[in-house]
Amino acid sequence: MLLKRICWVSSIVLLASFAAQAAPNVEEGKNLFIANCAACHNKNMKDNLTGPALAGVEERWAAYPRTDLYKWVRFSQNMVTEGHPRAVELWAQWKPTLMNNFPGLTDDQIESVLLYINDVANKKPTTPAPGTDTAGTGGGSGSGTNMWVFAGLALILALLAFALMRIIDNLSNITRVQAGEAPVNRTLLQVLTTKGAVAFLVFAVTLIFGYKTVDNATRMGRQQNYQPEQPIAFSHQLHAGANKIDCQYCHDSARRSKHSLIPGTNTCMNCHSAVKKGTKSGTSEITKIFASIGFDPITNKYIPDYDNWTDKQIEDLYKQWIGQEYIASNSLPAMNDAGRSIVQDQWEGIVKALKNDSNGKIQGPIEWVRIHNLADHAYFNHAQHVAVGQVACQKCHGPVEQMEEVYQYSTLGMGWCINCHRETEVKFKDNDYYKQFERYHQELKDGKRDKVTVADVGGLECQKCHY
């Protein structure tokens, strides 16, 4: 009977894990979504972003032919002007935000995207909110499977315990009967309220709560997977991934300072004085850079007294630029309502991104949301790791070149640091600084030691990081 149950439970577990990766087009849908939709639609499919959350999109369009949905994706604004009821409803809800046109997407591709949307919408979120750290990275589905196994095991053990208790009851009844006493038949409630059971319950609850308390206290202030919305939809995937710009081109002080440094707007301008429109975002994001530093994209000149410009001046200039580009890219004879709405929309984006709370100015630095917040009492030096240790950025920051929007990859907890220091080998022979560790050199030579780790040269000592 027991064996049968185990088989039953494990087959459920297996089935569940297969189900997660069923349809063949999801992968394509994901790629298409990231390339085309992710700029406006939330990747978790549940929350609104610039555009609405896409979960349940098929149900919302179920009353109309499937082709209407395809058409909406390709030429949404046309459907609004044509007066399609669902389109008008959406426009009323979301105006003045316009959905970009995607005339290039095939029906199959749109189906793939829809599959991906459903897939994500029906799954648990993979990027938990700050403070809800998960073990390891990106292990959403894995931990789900484990849960099933544990639940199954717990059930089996509970049944086993119950069965044992019945056996004990029966056995004691047999002795009672043999001794001439009447057998006692305890109800389930009676069994569960025995001293032993209650004590076990109290013990278990204490243990679980204690574990959870310590575990949560340790994680307090940590924010692995923290992925805040940034003022500019800057894509590391595009810059570091597709365009293969070296990390240290922008984060240039990583090799010389303790800070890796978020680049100043002037660094952006090294390229963006030429690249004035984004492949995906058009004018909406890059214009923010211009507005920060005071670059006139129409004349290709920096504005000399930009500090003294009024908001109105700035608004006029960049609205003109956005409008001009809209007309050019859509080959329009003159500005239309949709264009005006886009201009207004993008201008508001600029204001939102740049307006400084303290001085109320639009021009000036871009206030990025800081993702990696190391505790104040921990000293970390990028130069030590990047220039001396030659640790790849990805080792701590994860596959940034694949991140559309950056999130915190590592825990940044002390245990995580320590583990790496224990394992990482020091560039011992290549750096003359380490010549002074004569004993280690001798041991390496004699074969008594196969490597020198950071821990061996004092990398676990308190005052390497805390002073």
Partner: protein, 1049 residues
């Protein structure tokens, strides 16, 4: 000479000598529990407190409930300057100039804010040394009480005017044509003088009136008489074999102390035991100055006997050199005999000796000049080819000005840098006369006593915000450059002058007009003096980079004017009977100029070890039996009423060894009335200073002292805090270990070894004794259960320090540097009185020799980074532990505050954060209110402006944790990283501790003990057995070595 038996002959105080119960108790307690619950009536909870606590409670509850992490922003530059890499410090060469003080400095800035002062080794004057005053200047930049805009002054407050309005008003007044007077300290800036010249040209009725906070007028006048030069020559202490100083504190405050200290110490260092030589130093004085405490022989005289002593020395020297004698006033036989011996030494070292005098009596200075002439020191150790320009003021000019002002002849006065309403003895008369001036303008950056009397404030930049230059010695030019944009709406003083002079040379359209003005002066006028750089731009860039441009004049010989007659009637005539009082300048507060700097206020006076105020030093007398008592049986902290010239003040007593019998003394600079956090500490003794021939005398012949029966309950003297290693005698007369006696068991060792000292003549004997001691210690230390950990430390670097007690003069620059580097909080007088001072590095003062006129040893004491550290193995949470680099590490976030480590530390160098000193306590009763923000007084570090001075590489500690010297771990890590990045071995210069870089005499050497060629190893090896570890015999294996103190008497 009175000598009591005391092991090593070393003692710290009367209580120590007398083995008083109170002392033993005090030594027992690392932290005083007296006044612990004392609240000064501030305890009663106010509405604010209630709201604060409620707010805190709610806040804590909310925090605990949600644990939301606040969103933090990362804000990059728009256009990142090439020179700034966030996280990497930039250094700018500049100068510290204040009144008579000068130091060439490097300003360390982080992300555009100055945080630390270092010495500039390119200057031949200061050669990389600094003073406590220079170190502390960075804090005064971030003073919340600075004047924040130009305006009119009403009731001690500035009501804002725009600079243009002010300029119009002032120009209107200037153009009326009345007499204009500028009241300044000595101006040593060539470009400022040029600006002044333009101003004077525009308004010919202008006259500049200069005086110095502490006058050298007599010296200048005497030099003019004797050599035809009204100037101060270069004194070459580094070439003098015998030095005699009449009350000139040349190591602490007199003329150019950083320069003198370095030169002096170079002749005092013991380089090897065999054939060791050092200069001999006599000091003739009544109170114990920093120089006097370092002297080989102190000759005690009463202040009024100065003239007699100078005449006596003159006659002795004249007798030996064939000069004619003069008839001077009578002097005690004891002093006479001592001076006779000194004269013999001086004559033996003819041409290589030096007599200096701090007196402000012209005839006395003339006779001293004659003595130097007789000794052949003129043109050798006294060099007139390069003059020291830092003191050119003359208070007689001020007297004239007061007359003019009283007569209504002055229409407009500008006060620049000076504070006559406080500094002058006749400040009352000055105030009265000053009120008669129609327009009174102050350039002062703070609302000091004089500015409060002005009609207009035109606040100048702080020096770290300003451009400028200095010529401290002729031909030695030094630049001042801004290291931060002005924090407030202030303006360069020179700019104001040029603006008001409507100068055509000031380009008002420029962002920094005075910068262009200064640059053009350098690029044109100064460039012409050299030939290395052809263009003005190249010369300017070089000078700005180096901070100094030195073009000393060629040799110039002078001769003593034979026409000068020595008239002993002109010297001070001894008074009889009455108690005399002398007034002196301390190394930290000056004549009050630095009273508003908390770092300097909390730096103990080197000699009497008091903080936050000035105290009346009274002599200590031997009762003829076995006890040392304070004069009049006064005790430390007793309040007395002192009457001088009919003016009474209540002072607090500190008993001082070496104070001449029949005299008392008190420092200048206390009792400031306005301008900053120094208000309310000490008493203002300037009104007591008598004038003699128009010159300020720094002593009074009669003082009446009466006990009041009250005590200063916050008497703050750090001498008895954190004591260690004291020997004493028990009731049976046996030598015992005081610590052991009062603390019960602490190491079971009796012969403690903290200080070793000897006469130069007995040097080989001391070396022998120390060799035996080392051997004995070795023997003891090998009887250990601990395994030898030599191999553990052999790999890589092992850090260590060597402190040469013979070079250490006790000036305290290292202590302030440490405070500045390591974010050490200021705790205020009340907290210091409770033993709560937080300084990581203290300078212990020990006495030895004659009980009534002892010699002094200064010992910088910081964490010794013991390899067998007693603190480490008592920590229950392993918050303090050892690194393989030999560092005793302290992890603040692990510390739970048991203080076991502090109890177990034999050196008493661990400090506990009793209160939240760095972030302001929730309860106002706890901390002294030192700063003022938005009209409310707040504790130190509690406002964002002062916090800008903090070193971002050092954690700010919170309440309840222990902290201590880390050997500047942040500098170590930075230095190692530099070496690693450059792929090379680590060098001595990569890592220099803050105390090391601050030291003007090179007494502190830090480095890698594993490298046999490192400076620290070489320095310690040089003195052989003279190098010892404090408490070497207790097997804690400290990482710091000291050298024995040698005197040459």
């Amino acid at each position: 000479m009175i000598n009591m038996h005391h092991d090593n002959g070393i003692w710290v105080s009367t209580e120590d000598l007398n083995r008083e119960e109170s002392f033993l108790q005090s030594a027992e307690k690392e932290f005083s529990v007296e006044n612990m619950a004392e609240t000064d009536g501030q305890w009663a909870a106010s509405r604010r407190d209630f709201l604060k606590l409620m707010g805190f409670g709610l806040g804590a509850a909310t925090l605990a409930a949600s644990c939301e992490i606040p969103v933090k922003k990362a804000i990059p530059y728009v256009t990142k300057p090439d020179s700034i890499v966030p996280g990497v410090a930039n250094y700018f060469a500049s100068s510290f100039v204040n009144g008579s003080d000068y130091c060439s400095i490097l300003v360390k800035t982080r992300e555009g804010r100055p945080i630390k002062i270092e010495g500039n080794s390119l200057s031949s004057i200061t050669a990389g040394g600094t003073s406590a005053r220079a170190q502390a200047m960075v804090l005064s930049l971030y003073d919340t009480r600075r004047i924040q805009s130009a305006g009119t002054v009403e009731n001690g407050a500035v009501s804002k005017l725009s600079w243009q309005d002010l300029d119009n008003k002032v120009k209107g007044q200037l153009q009326l044509g009345g007499n204009i007077r500028l009241i300044t300290n000595t101006i040593i800036s060539p470009t400022a003088k040029k600006a002044l010249a333009e101003f004077t040209a525009k308004y010919p009725n202008t006259r500049v009136v200069s005086y110095d906070p502490v006058s050298s007028a007599a010296l200048l006048a005497a030099n003019e008489q004797c050599f035809g030069i009204r100037g101060i020559p270069s004194y070459k202490f580094g070439e003098a074999d015998v030095i005699l100083s009449f009350d000139a504190d040349f190591l602490g405050t007199w003329v150019s102390p950083i320069e003198f200290a370095r030169a002096y110490a170079s002749k005092r260092k013991i380089k090897s035991v065999q054939g060791a030589t050092m200069s001999r130093h006599y000091q003739v004085e009544s109170h114990v100055s920093l120089s006097g405490s370092n002297a080989d022989t102190r000759i005690q005289i009463k202040p009024s006997e100065m003239g007699a002593a100078i005449c006596a020395l003159h006659n002795e020297v004249a007798a030996l050199t064939g000069g004619s004698s003069i008839s001077g006033p009578a002097l005690s036989d004891k002093a006479k005999a001592a001076l006779k011996k000194a004269a013999a030494d001086l004559v033996t070292a003819r041409g290589k000796s030096l007599v200096v005098c701090g007196s402000n009596n012209v005839m006395e200075q003339v006779i001293v000049n004659k003595i130097n002439d007789l000794l052949g020191n003129i043109n050798t150790t006294i060099d007139f080819s390069v003059l020291n320009n830092t003191r050119q003021g003359d208070e007689r000019d001020m007297a004239r000005l007061i007359g003019e002002m009283n007569a209504g002849q002055v229409a407009l006065a500008i006060v620049w840098g000076a504070n006559p309403a406080y500094e002058l003895p006749n400040a009352d008369k000055f105030k009265e006369a000053f009120a008669k001036v129609n327009t009174r303008i102050s350039f002062s950056g703070v609302m000091d006593e004089t500015t409060a009397l002005c009609s207009h404030a035109a606040p100048a930049h702080h020096q770290l915000e300003a451009w400028g230059d200095a010529e401290p010695k002729t031909g030695h030019y030094s630049l001042i450059q801004p290291t931060i944009a002005p924090l407030f709406d202030t303006r360069q003083a020179e700019h104001s002058l040029l603006e008001w002079a409507e100068s055509a040379n000031l380009n008002r359209d420029d962002e920094q007009p005075y910068y262009q003005y200064l640059k053009s002066h350098w690029a044109n006028d100064l460039r012409a003096m050299q030939s290395k750089y052809n263009t003005g731009a190249a010369f300017w860039d070089m000078s700005l980079h180096d901070g100094v441009f030195e073009n000393p004049a060629g040799p110039r010989t002078v001769a003593f004017n034979s026409g000068v007659s020595l008239n002993s009637a002109g010297v001070t005539q001894p008074a009889s009977g009455a108690v005399e009082i002398s007034f002196y300048e301390t190394v930290n507060i000056g004549n009050g100029q630095y009273a508003h700097n908390p770092w300097l206020q909390e730096m103990p006076d080197p000699v009497n070890r008091t903080v936050w105020g000035n105290y009346l030093c009274v002599p200590i007398e031997w009762d003829g039996n076995k006890k040392m008592n304070g004069w009049m049986n006064l005790n430390d902290g007793d309040n007395v009423e002192v009457e001088v010239n009919g003016k009474k003040l209540t002072c607090t007593v500190v008993r001082t060894f070496g104070q001449a019998p029949g005299t008392v003394s008190i420092a200048l600079g206390g009792g400031r009335e306005s301008g900053g956090c120094g208000v309310g500490y000490g008493v203002n003794v300037n009104p007591w200073l008598p004038m003699e021939g128009g010159m300020i005398q720094y002593f009074a012949k009669a003082a009446k002292v009466e006990a009041t029966g009250t005590v200063d309950k916050h008497f703050a003297c750090v001498q008895h805090h954190h004591t260690m290693g004291l020997a004493a005698t028990d009731a049976k007369g046996n030598t015992i270990n005081a610590d052991e006696q009062v603390l019960a068991y602490q190491g079971s060792l009796t012969d403690r070894s903290v200080i070793f000292q000897a006469n130069l003549k007995e040097l080989p004997k001391l070396a022998e004794k120390l060799a035996e001691f080392h051997q004995h210690s070795d023997h003891l230390n090998t009887q250990t259960l601990y395994q030898d950990n030599v191999e553990y430390f052999a790999a890589g670097v092992k850090w260590g320090m060597y402190v040469d007690l013979n070079s250490c003069i006790g000036c305290g620059a290292c202590q302030v540097a440490c405070v500045s580097e390591n974010n050490v909080p200021v705790v205020g007088k009340k907290e210091v009185a409770r033993h709560h001072e937080m300084t990581w590095l203290r300078i212990d003062r020990y006495f030895y020799g004659d009980l009534e006129n002892p010699k002094v040893v200064y010992q910088p004491m910081m964490c010794q980074h013991c390899d067998n550290a007693p603190c480490e193995n008592v920590c229950p949470v392993n918050a303090t532990n050892h690194s393989m680099e030999g560092l005793n590490q302290m992890a603040y976030n692990r510390c739970i505050g048991t203080r076991y480590c502090a109890n177990n530390c034999p050196y008493k160098v661990r400090r506990f954060n009793w209160l939240d000193y760095t972030t302001a306590d929730t309860w106002p009763a706890n901390e002294e209110r030192l700063f003022r923000v938005d009209g409310a007084d707040v504790p130190f570090y509690a406002d964002n402006l002062v916090r800008m001075v903090m070193n971002p590489d050092v954690t700010v500690r919170s309440r309840g944790v222990i902290e201590k010297c880390s050997f500047c771990i942040q500098r170590i890590q930075e230095g190692k990283l530099t070496a690693k990045k450059e792929n090379r071995a680590i060098l001595d210069n990569d890592v220099r501790s803050a105390c090391q870089t601050a030291c003007p005499t090179g007494a502190i050497v830090f480095g890698n003990l594993n490298n046999p060629d490192s400076a620290v190893n070489k320095a310690a090896a040089g003195v052989g057995d003279l190098a010892y570890q404090v408490l070497e015999e207790i097997n804690v294996r400290p990482g710091v070595k000291y050298s024995a103190k040698i005197h040459n008497s």
